[in-house]
């Protein structure tokens, strides 16, 4: 349920972006959600709908997900995060703070925890559309 806090951030960031572009109304908000964080999309969507301010009253929220791709800094190996290979507690911890992936996940090829999350971390505001 901390998805609510993330939704608040998205609304705040979209409002800021609209301000910058001098939009009176926001019609579309494109959001990208990385799978590493295992955000519950229906809760996120519900929260977004509840948090709508006036500017967003006709806004559609378009959510795309991105696979979480990890790359080892030691051996260069790339792989995709698979929640099923983790125990429940570890998966939940990563849900809150994706960086603790470095505690629970190791490079499947060389065993190093020194990998980069090259894609699929967190919630991003891709773009907004609206009317001036």
């Amino acid at each position: 349920m901390h998805e609510w806090a993330l939704a608040e951030a998205v609304i705040a960031a979209a409002a800021e972006a609209a301000e910058k572009e001098r939009l009176k109304e926001i019609t579309e908000v494109w959001i990208k959600v990385g799978e590493l964080q295992q955000v519950e999309l229906d809760i996120l969507e519900f929260a977004l709908s509840q948090l709508k301010t006036d500017k967003f009253k006709n806004a559609k929220f378009k959510i795309a997900t991105a696979k979480a791709e990890l790359q080892c800094r030691v051996c260069g190996h790339k792989w995709v995060f698979n929640k099923e290979t983790l125990d429940k507690d570890a998966a939940e911890a990563i849900h809150f703070v994706p960086e603790v992936a470095h505690t629970y996940i190791k490079c499947p090829k060389c065993g190093s925890p020194d990998f980069e999350i090259i894609e699929g971390r967190g919630v991003w505001l891709e773009s907004i559309k609206g009317a001036k």
């Binding site: 349920m1 901390h2 609510w4 806090a5 960031a13 911890a93 603790v100 991003w124």
Partner: protein, 240 residues
């Protein structure tokens, strides 16, 4: 593409009156002990206090405070549990106190994540236990929490004071408020650090003696508050 998290941090800090970052260029000077006891002391005085351990790769306030078996609640964000009167937040809730090797970019990301999802509510003081060095956590704090004030810890050693000078010069250059300097682990009555602190135009807040018995009180908050150490930390409060 925009990272939406930074847009909500001001809102999360809105009802916090003062943010005190206990810091020092140097490690091992007593930042964590001072941050913990300062938190406890303020709470005992009736203030609403949060304590946030930002030393993600080597957290220690949970050991000092003997905190185990608690977890934040989830309610439209995460709500730090109240332990010994403190709203207490640490990465150990998620790392389970296992080795957590993090590069600077990861430290930055974890910090921003926790700042954006943690709901502190109304606080008089949020005490931050900072990692050593002048790196991602310190720079992000300066960047993201405009109301943060720094409490700088040194020891009587030249080695520590040199790094304090560097930190102070960085903060001064950016007009970030410095509450003052605490000299910890004093072995004698030397006034050197007091004088050098004042020469830098900074307030000398307290001189805490080296106390060989402090180790035995670690993990036991009542006993921690009974030490001379705690009495000396209390001297800082009026300056906050």
């Amino acid at each position: 593409m925009v990272d939406p998290r930074v847009s909500i941090i001001d809102e999360r800090m809105r009802d916090i009156r003062k943010v005190i970052a206990v810091s020092s260029g140097k490690g091992g000077v007593g930042k964590s002990l001072i941050a913990s006891i300062l938190g406890l002391t303020l709470a005992k005085k009736g203030y609403k206090v949060g304590l946030f351990d930002l030393d993600f790769t080597s957290p220690s306030t949970h050991i000092i405070l003997g905190i185990e078996g608690v977890q934040p609640k989830e309610d439209k964000g995460i709500i730090p549990p109240k332990v010994h009167g403190l709203e207490y937040m640490s990465i150990v809730y998620y790392s389970r106190d296992q080795a957590t090797p993090l590069r600077g970019a990861d430290v930055s990301n974890a910090l921003i994540e926790l700042l954006s999802i943690t709901k502190w509510g109304k606080l008089d003081f949020l005490v931050l236990d900072m990692p050593p060095g002048i790196g991602d956590a310190t720079l992000d704090l300066i960047r993201l929490i405009k109301k943060a004030e720094f409490l700088i810890v040194t020891t009587p050693s030249q080695l520590a004071f040199e790094t304090v000078k560097k930190l102070a010069s960085l903060l001064n250059g950016l007009r970030v408020p410095i509450v003052g300097v605490v000299e910890n682990m004093k072995m004698n009555q030397s006034e050197t650090i007091r004088q050098q602190t004042q020469k830098l135009g900074l307030t000398y807040l307290s001189g805490i003696p080296y106390d060989p018995n402090i180790e035995k009180t670690i993990g036991k908050t009542n006993r921690l508050l009974d030490t001379r150490f705690a009495k000396k930390v209390e001297q800082i409060v009026p300056s906050l």
